[in-house]
């Protein structure tokens, strides 16, 4: 199976450094979420991996080979970069057919992926009549054309309706289960947390984190619990005696920072206080990500005032 290996990758556009000494590997068999704010260098990195842009320094390889050296690359790597890029005057089928033929892929595959992506009915319509969601599906169809080991999708859920978003999530999970390498960029945190096993986080072109999703969440999680009880005053005292500081929320629930459910549950049991609800608080990917990038943003604001743009 094929992994994506990026080593010391750097790309300057004029005076702007879009990608800064990136080193990471994307492994097969799992979905890797590629996170970062707009302008963090996600799209640039994907273009560099595909050999579309030339790196200023460093290298990007697929299974040890640069993309440009792959024979029939669509059979190895499927990429969705920009759903608007397909020529509007062509029909969806002709667009896919031209791609398939160039890589020695049977023309019937074009019909299959059109079917798989729900575009069979509009296969002979010109792409300029397509909605954003349909173009997105066409871009995904093109990525699937060669049944590749490696799939790179840049913001695949752009413009998709809720069913489409569920569909693409299931598709990515399935491809990872089949042992393929799946790299998916997004700036939508909740969505990414619904499909990614592993995360690579970029900020201003630099690598901020490269670790399993759960580890990323845990590393940013301070334990905490929320509870509801009929004898709040007594439990509050009991918890304060144990060194915690319960705070009452507007809805009547209490939260305790730094405590685990075991500790609060035990405290309640010892005092014979009935608990109506006891929940551990989990950090969402969004919170963990924001905590990570806030540090980075402060550093960035202090070191350089120039804004980066999505390149």
């Amino acid at each position: 199976m094929t992994s994506i290996d990026v080593h010391g990758l750097t790309k300057d556009y004029g005076a702007t450094r879009a990608v800064d000494q990136l080193t990471f590997s994307v492994r097969p068999g799992r979905v890797t979420g590629f996170l970062g704010p707009n302008g963090a260098g996600k799209s640039t990195t994907m273009r560099l991996v595909l050999g579309l842009d030339r790196p200023t320094a460093g290298s990007a390889t697929l299974g040890g080979v640069p993309y440009a050296s792959l024979e029939n690359p669509l059979r190895r790597v499927g990429a969705l970069l920009d759903a608007q890029a397909a020529h509007g005057a062509r029909t969806a089928r002709d667009h896919l057919l031209a791609l398939a033929v160039s890589n020695g892929i049977a023309g019937t595959r074009a019909d299959e992926v059109l079917e798989d992506t729900g575009l069979a009915a509009v296969a002979r319509r010109r792409i300029k009549t397509f909605s954003l969601g349909m173009r997105q599906r066409l871009g995904i169809a093109a990525a699937l054309l060669g049944e590749p080991d490696v799939v790179m999708l840049d913001e695949p859920s752009n413009g998709l309706d809720p069913e489409g978003i569920i569909w693409i999530r299931e598709l990515m999970r399935r491809m990872a289960r089949e042992g393929r390498t799946v790299l998916v960029s997004s700036h939508l945190m909740n969505e990414t947390s619904s499909f990614a096993d592993h995360l690579i986080v970029l900020g201003r072109g630099r690598l901020l984190a490269d670790l399993p999703m759960q580890e990323f969440l845990d590393s940013r999680t301070r334990p905490g619990v929320r509870f509801r009880t009929t004898e709040a005053a007594r439990l509050r005292e009991a918890l304060i005696r144990r060194g915690f500081l319960p705070v009452q929320e507007e809805d009547g629930r209490w939260t305790v920072d730094g405590a685990t459910a075991e500790e609060v549950g035990a405290a309640a049991a010892v005092s014979g206080i009935p608990l109506l609800e006891l929940t551990e608080l989990h950090t969402t990917l969004e919170e963990a990500y924001l905590a990570l990038t806030t540090d980075e943003a402060q550093f960035a604001a202090a070191s350089s005032p120039t804004a980066h743009q999505e390149a």
Binding site: R47, L50, G51, L52, D53, R54, Y67, A68, L70, E71, N72, P73, L74, V77, A79, L81, D82, Q84, A85, A86, H87, G88, A89, R90, T91, D94, H95, L97, A98, L99, V101, S102, N103, G104, A142
Partner: protein
């Protein structure tokens, strides 16, 4: 020719036939030339044949002036369709060897333009002469066969010239709005003023092949070779632009 070259050529053919503006321009080379030939020869054909300085062979290809505009449109739109909205990224993802992609595209554009050019050139000669009555000349007349063949090659070279410029400028609009006024206006005006230099302009040089006895320095094949040099230079510049730039 290995499989992948054949495959990429086939893919480029699909790309050209599947964009209407490109395939229409290709057909317009024939349609425009024939339409103007019929119109011009049916109305003023024989009337001018008596005037002094009339050159029956060169006049037979008068309508190529219009066909060459379609040839420019064909060369320009065939290439520019790759530069719209980052379409080139999709093409290069499929065929990352830029030389192979560019070479295949240029070959298909050149090949199609040559076939269409030859059909057009022979057809315009033969159809035009049908209206000429007693003044008619045939393919057996001196220079006629060479001019008909050369006219087709000329159209292909003009299409390739436009294709190369489009690869440099990445825009059909830029190429069309430079090249067409140039051919229609500048070349005529400059051609009258500065004869020596004008002979080496891409259109004037190549059109030497349409004359029975080309006046001035350039022979029919030399003239065509000068146009080929222009086209080759434009294609090389296009290759250089594609090879070095980020897609």
């Amino acid at each position: 020719m290995n499989t992948s070259t054949t495959a990429v050529l086939h893919s480029e053919w699909i790309k050209i036939r599947s964009v209407r503006s490109v395939s229409f321009s290709l057909m317009a080379i024939f349609a425009a030339t024939l339409a103007v030939t019929v119109l011009a020869f049916a109305t003023v054909g024989q009337a001018e044949a008596d005037s002094p300085g009339y050159e029956p062979l060169f006049s037979a290809f008068y309508a190529l002036n219009f066909g060459q505009i379609a040839a420019i449109c064909f060369g320009a739109t065939a290439l520019s369709s790759e530069f719209l909205n980052g379409a080139l990224r999709i093409s290069l993802s499929a065929v990352p060897r830029r030389g192979l992609l560019y070479g295949a595209k240029v070959s298909v554009v050149g090949g199609l333009a040559l076939v269409m050019g030859l059909i057009t050139s022979f057809a315009t000669f033969l159809v035009g002469q049908m209206f000429m009555g007693e003044y008619a000349i045939g393919l057996g007349d001196p220079g006629a066969l060479r001019a008909s063949f050369g006219g087709g090659v000329y159209l292909a070279l003009i299409a390739l010239f436009a294709a190369g410029l489009t690869a440099v400028l990445r825009s059909a609009v830029a190429v069309l709005s430079t090249l067409i006024p140039f051919l229609l206006i500048v070349s005529f005006v400059v051609g009258d003023v500065a004869g020596d230099i004008a002979r080496y302009l891409p259109d004037q040089a190549g059109q030497a092949v349409l004359h029975q006895n080309p006046a001035g320095g350039l022979g029919p094949w030399t003239g065509l070779a000068v146009t080929a040099a222009w086209a080759g230079a434009a294609l090389l510049a296009g290759w250089w632009a594609l090879r070095t730039r980020d897609a």
